[in-house]
């Protein structure tokens, strides 16, 4: 039976965070799209103004896979809904394959929910790929509603190139 702890990420964790981001991206077949570096993660997460927060899941060395003790993480930040105020936005959520089914994911979600309630957020938002049925079921079992389905919201993006075009007067 694996024992694990959850804790707030520290500056030392940035290489593990980047490793797990890349593993999750690989699972989504998008590994080459990860441009972020450890330096970016350090500046952006542990500077004067953190742009994200991380929770990491750690197992004791004896249970570690290939020497890694950090085997799961959640990345989140706060957003703002102009109708109801603060929201917690769950950006990335991943547990290494060999450590699934042990309740780590559920525990991470529990701690995030506590954080959301403590910081007086009205709800937690996140996006899921529509073909990721396993994840969709995981979330729906816990009460999540599909806003894209119910309210018809579509997520848009304007990339740097087009932002630059717009900045030209």
């Amino acid at each position: 039976m694996a024992s694990f702890i959850l804790r707030k990420a520290e500056p030392n964790d940035v290489s593990d965070i980047l490793r797990l981001i890349k593993e999750l991206a690989k699972f989504e077949e998008m590994e080459e799209k990860v441009m972020l570096t450890e330096k970016d993660l350090l500046n952006d997460g542990f500077g004067d103004h953190p742009f994200y927060h991380c929770l990491v899941a750690e197992v004791p060395k004896e249970q570690s896979s290939e020497g890694y003790t950090v085997i799961g993480f959640a990345m989140y930040y706060f957003t703002y809904d102009p109708w109801i105020g603060k929201l917690l936005y769950l950006e990335d959520f991943y547990v290494m394959q060999g450590f699934r089914g042990l309740g780590i994911g559920s525990q991470i979600l529990k701690v995030l929910s506590e954080t959301a309630v403590k910081t007086r957020c009205s709800s937690m938002h996140f996006i899921v790929a529509e073909n990721n049925t396993k994840s969709i079921e995981f979330y729906k079992r816990r009460g999540a509603s599909d806003l894209s389905s119910e309210e018809g919201w579509r997520l848009f993006e304007i990339e740097k190139e087009d932002l630059l075009k717009m900045t030209a007067k």
């Binding site: 981001i21 999750l24 991206a25 998008m30 799209k33 441009m35 972020l36 952006d44 742009f51 994200y52 930040y77 706060f78 703002y80 102009p82 109708w83 109801i84 105020g85 936005y89 950006e91 990335d92 979600l109 529990k110 929910s113 506590e114 959301a116 309630v117 957020c121 009205s122 709800s123 937690m124 938002h125 996140f126 996006i127 790929a129 529509e130 073909n131 979330y139 816990r142 009460g143 999540a144 509603s145 599909d146 806003l147 894209s148 389905s149 018809g152 919201w153 579509r154 997520l155 848009f156 993006e157 304007i158 990339e159 190139e161 087009d162 932002l163 630059l164 075009k165 717009m166 900045t167």
Partner: protein
């Protein structure tokens, strides 16, 4: 008509709330706005701002008239684990009678500039799928519909579910 854009200040919270309600009314959701001026003040102008606003103001008709707030954008920063900082456009609204003057384009130009200055790799926002004029406004400027292209669906855990999940299970 003369107008100018500026960063919102604490005194603007009542205009911000007014415009938030006007936009919600347009989406037929006005009763869903439960936010108060007090919350907007604490959340936007405290130690850690949870949102930022740019206001569009029309000069009064005579020099003694107060300028009138006629449009705004509300945004904050998010983080993409693949590429880093993003600017998230949460609300974007210009009062009906002040449209067609270029205020919307200017607001968008202003925040695009801000996104570049703060080294964001992109700007994201959601649009209701039936809001054709807005979808076209954005697509004309290069926006891509990620929901369509990448199949992302937006999910939510509301307060009830959060409380249920954060409550320890019975032994």
């Amino acid at each position: 008509m003369e107008y100018k854009l500026r960063k919102a200040e604490p005194r603007d919270v009542s205009d911000i709330l007014r415009l938030v309600k006007e936009l919600a009314k347009y989406e037929e959701m006005e009763h869903q706005v439960t936010l108060t001026e007090k919350e907007l003040l604490e959340d936007g102008f405290g130690d850690t701002p949870f949102y930022h606003c740019i206001i569009a103001e029309i000069q009064g008709e005579t020099s003694s008239d107060d300028p009138k707030v006629v449009g705004f954008v509300m945004y904050y920063f998010t983080y993409d684990p693949w590429v880093g900082k993003q600017l998230y456009l949460e609300e974007f609204y210009v009062m009906d009678q002040y449209r067609g003057l270029g205020i919307g384009s200017e607001l968008l130009r202003h925040i695009s500039d801000l996104a570049m200055k703060t080294r964001c790799t992109g700007m994201m926002f959601v649009v209701a799928e039936n809001n054709e004029p807005s979808v076209q406004f954005y697509k004309r400027r290069g926006a891509e519909d990620l929901s369509q292209e990448e199949g992302w669906r937006l999910f939510r855990f509301d307060k009830n579910s959060l409380v249920k999940m954060s409550t320890p299970a019975e032994e």
